[in-house]
């Protein structure tokens, strides 16, 4: 089975990711809508003043979780990812916003925030180093599958 393809399909089947950051040995977690590109990079938009955004500025190491809804007893599928995240600027930010718009629309208020008004928002990119797919459906004997990027 093609693990990379399964991860791409899984990323396409969900919209929400939990992003974990760390500052001063203390973890924090936030939820964002994300878009993946063909290289399995992940993009999201957040306000710069949010705690996860501030922590990424100080420490770019992040972890992500993408989990579609399960109820107890169902076969589990979920994705963990670790890597680095950064705020995109200039042409990279424009590209990131275009990737984001390929999946989601951006409301007027958010457009204004991206232009720096009110509480400014930015596009972020996570470059993964390692994905862990837990997949009891496709890999019942060995559900933990790792992909190094």
């Amino acid at each position: 089975m093609d693990l990379r393809k399964l991860i791409q399909e899984y990323l396409a089947s969900a919209q929400v990711m939990q992003i974990g950051t760390v500052h001063d040995n203390k973890p924090w977690i936030a939820t964002v809508y994300y878009v993946a590109d063909a290289d399995l990079n992940l993009y999201w938009i957040s306000k710069g003043m949010r705690r996860h955004s501030r922590e990424i500025e100080k420490n770019s190491r992040v972890a992500g979780s993408v989990v579609v809804n399960h109820v107890y007893g169902e076969k589990v599928r979920g994705l963990q990812v670790e890597g680095t995240a950064e705020l995109l600027k200039g042409s990279e930010a424009e590209q990131g916003i275009n990737v984001y718009k390929s999946r989601f629309w951006i409301v007027e208020e958010r457009e204004k925030a991206l232009a720096g008004e009110n509480e400014p928002a930015y596009v972020y990119r996570m470059k993964p180093e390692r994905y862990v797919l837990i997949d009891e459906v496709n890999f019942p004997e060995n559900p933990r599958q790792e992909l190094k990027i």
Binding site: G20, T21, K26, T31, A63, V71
Partner: protein, 145 residues
């Protein structure tokens, strides 16, 4: 509106908790099924050899999210938690398993499924309820247990 009550109702309506642990610099995420008590402590069971479990044995600081499935554009509701998580033993573990097995209607032995799972407790120090449904003007509501 009673924020603690809303948090408790939200806990009741969800089953999955995402946790983030750290070795000090690199965060790591994991997903667990949780149960909770009236003081808003959360309980789950995990194998001790999992990365989140081994990180917790070295650093109790943890963050959690309980996020129900949304699609883009919907009003958002979710919970963020900060606190400490640790392994329970003896009577504490037994009491927690009572709560856990009651919630999921599973026999205790099956919940622990004979592969060495142990019981963890997350004691929150800070909870953020993000709730655009009940607090449209100010969706970020903070609660300190």
């Amino acid at each position: 509106m009673d924020v603690k009550k809303l948090i408790s109702e939200y806990f009741e309506s969800a089953q999955m908790l995402q946790i983030i642990t750290t070795n000090g610099y690199q965060p790591w995420g994991a997903t667990v099924y949780f149960a909770y008590d009236q003081d808003l402590n959360l309980y789950w069971i995990s194998r001790p050899d999992r990365r989140h479990s081994s990180e917790l044995s070295l650093n109790k600081k943890v963050a959690g999210v309980i996020a129900k499935y949304h699609t883009y554009g919907e009003k958002v509701r979710g919970i963020q938690i900060e606190g400490e998580a640790f392994e329970l033993k003896n009577e504490d573990a037994s009491n927690a398993m009572e709560i856990y097995t009651k919630r999921y209607s599973v026999p205790r032995a099956r919940a622990l499924n004979l592969s060495g799972h142990i019981v963890y407790k997350l004691k929150p120090t800070y909870i953020v309820l993000f709730d655009e449904v009940n607090f449209p003007e100010n969706p970020r509501q903070e609660y300190k247990p």
